[in-house]
Amino acid sequence: MDENSTLILKRYFKEYYFHYGERIKAPSEIASREFGYFPFGGAMIRHISFKDIGTFRAALVREAPAGAYCSNSLYNDPTAEMHLKGWKSAELIFDIDADGLKLPCKKVHDVWLCKGGGKKEFGLRPETCPNCKGNRILELTWACPDCLEGTKKETMKLLEFLEFDFGISSSQVRVYFSGNAGYHISVEKSQYETLDSHGRAEIADYLTGRGIMPNFFNSTRLLPNDPGWRGRVARFIRDLPEVNTLFKSTTFEKRLSELISDFSKKQVENFMTRAVSENSVKIDAMVTTDIHRIFRMPETLNNKTGLVKRECSDNLNSFDPTTDAIAIKDDSKAEVMVDIVPKIEIGGSSYGPFRSETIELPLYVGVYIVSRGAGKFVITGQNSALVQKEAQQKVRSDN
């Protein structure tokens, strides 16, 4: 990223932490957690700890980092090297991201770039570049309101699994918009906190349906009000519309006996694949399984968008990431040289699509586009004052 753009982003982040830093709440047992952050243009600094949240907030205002993170694990010594930390326990966490949903709208808003000839186009990444036939191709994904709605639905599915299957009450669950294209969910004080990564992989597989045996329902009869996957599969059978590609009969009982007695092995497999794909939760299993991870801090800014990772445990239904997660919503404007951007919706208005043009936009829209890596700030008017101020500070601190 060019230097001016970085300076403006950094300024924006600093302002946010200066005015709204109080919103960042201390995680429980803060002194047992590992923190990390990375500065704009710099590498991640890990294995640090904070005794209280005040010191952490002050560090955010001072450093205005691009990202700030905290472990979901508790350690005896969070600043030690990994093997000496002394792992104690970790909250169960989940990550749901629009990219994992593979929705059809991706081909409208995602962008690819050929590294060979520099060709850029909307749509899914082609096998090879139609211009130069090269295959060194980069992708830039975007999340539209449909994508965000999709991740919200997945989150609700997850909450349902957590409550009914895993016995986790809603008061133990925190839900956050990730600040980018999905949701983070964390579970506090549960029986699962001491599970190692293999145990957590079992939970992830349960949610995604990975490894489910096609004949698991053969042993005893399924009922729609059975707990767990049995009930889910049974309700899936019951609730399929009258005309469908799987069953001839219409009642649950008859469909079940069709499945058990008439279906070929192949048909049973097809059936299970559908039942699983429609009922499982599309989580990123890696995040749940890895217990040495540091996780973005709630109420900090996401460097990939400039939006806030914001808690929405109590208002998930009505939560709208495109308006409720904007960091600083005022009438500052910025001029942005936009590279290639699909139609985006943010702050109640829509912008674009844009291709190689310079436009004046609300600052938070500019921050969003530049953070995505799809444009840069042009130094005029408002910006230049900002940049000069920042540049002076830089000169001063360099001396």
């Binding site: 792992w87 029986q191 079992e202 349960y206 996957w229 890596g373």
Partner: protein
């Protein structure tokens, strides 16, 4: 509920059986007395049955007092032989006896009480339609089930509801088999045997004479020098050698590591006969699974040093472990030569992955411009 003497005669390893004996006021010197001849005979029989075929210590629950008293006597006899491998074998045989009885146990209250008092596990029991009758907390289930690599043990193939897994009696008992074995082994290790009366000394001598020779060392079987292996792998092998319960991560490490340095499934299975998984075929299945020959067909990678550390299974050597991130990078004469599995050869060279295993299929996608391969 309280266990009755009939229950204690079946589950002689329970601490409550010790209380029972104390109530009877029996002491070591009493055992020289003719009155206890039956107890001593039964104790010797228990050990002999373990020696002969490690699968079977019979149960004589008709003679409750003899059955209860003979167990601690048998422990003393075994301990007095000072043969480590006999201790492992005996613990195993007694554990199998308990498992068999538990699987046949008709009274769910006994099972609940046993889980509660010896394992600290709260079970629930009730008959609900066609669902399996016992329920245990999901976390307690997966902590144990991850050792079994068969798909039917995966959580996703069990019925889960309200934070609990529904289990049939057989599955429930299978799940804790290994804990019972290590509990009994621990008892054996902990007891201090006082001077035995002459009649018992005679039995000990007979047992030593008849005991099988110690099995070959793990290092002989796989033909390496211990110092060639990283401390974490060495630790697992040593535990295995002593008949101890190698924790899940240790076994996982040992199998994936040995496969990576070119040992075959057969080599690895050969290490296990005196180990926790009683049936060879089970061990074979598990190792083949890790090698990617069974089940999900994912070949599992050696866990990274940081994963092992997090799971309390790093025993680092301050010098040789200094800069490495994977046990495969431990400096030694044997270098990772790829993987040989039943004749088929697939090589994977270069530094080992430092990713946590098992590796989920999809990698984490980074935001922003990114390279993708198709």
């Amino acid at each position: 509920m309280q266990f009755g003497s009939d229950d204690l005669a079946k589950y002689t390893f329970l601490p409550q059986a010790g209380d029972f004996i104390r109530l009877q006021g029996v002491s070591i010197s009493d055992l020289a007395n003719q009155d206890y001849i039956k107890v001593i005979q039964r104790a010797e029989e228990r050990v002999l049955q373990a020696i002969k075929d490690s699968k079977n210590v019979s149960s004589r629950i008709d003679e409750r007092v003899v059955e209860i008293l003979s167990f601690p006597v048998a422990l003393m006899l075994v301990k007095s032989t000072k043969l480590d491998h006999l201790m492992g074998r005996y613990a195993l045989a007694e554990a199998i006896r308990v498992e068999t009885l538990l699987k046949q146990e008709k009274n769910p209250k006994v099972i609940e009480e046993l889980f509660r008092s010896s394992l600290g596990l709260e079970l629930e029991h009730s008959l609900q339609g066609t669902l399996p009758e016992f329920r245990i907390p999901i976390s307690e289930y997966v902590k144990r089930s991850v050792q079994f690599h068969r798909d039917e043990w995966k959580l996703v193939n069990k019925v889960a509801g309200g934070g609990r897994v529904f289990l049939a009696q057989d599955d429930l008992i299978r799940l804790i088999r290994e804990e019972i074995r290590s509990m009994i082994l621990q008892r054996l290790k902990d007891i201090k045997v006082p001077k035995l009366p002459e009649n018992l000394e005679q039995v000990v001598k007979r047992l030593i004479a008849i005991a099988p020779p110690p099995p070959r060392s793990a290092y002989t079987i796989i033909n390496v020098r211990p110092e060639d292996y990283p401390p974490c792998v060495r630790h697992s092998l040593d535990m295995l050698e002593k008949g101890e319960n190698v924790p899940h991560y240790g076994r996982f490490l040992m199998a994936t590591y040995l496969l990576s340095v070119g040992k075959t499934v057969d080599d690895i299975v050969a290490l296990f006969p005196k180990a926790p998984d009683f049936k060879q075929s089970v061990t074979r299945y598990q190792v083949e699974h890790l090698a990617g020959l069974k089940g999900g067909r994912t070949r599992y990678r050696v866990p990274s040093c940081s994963t092992l550390a997090t799971n309390n299974f790093c025993f680092r050597d301050p010098v040789k472990c200094n800069v490495i991130t994977s046990p495969l990078q431990y400096p030694s004469k044997i270098s990772p030569i790829g993987m040989r599995v039943s004749g088929k050869e697939e090589t994977r060279r270069g530094p080992a992955s430092t990713k946590a295993s098992p590796e989920p299929k999809e990698r984490r996608k980074k935001r922003g411009w990114m390279k993708t391969q198709r």
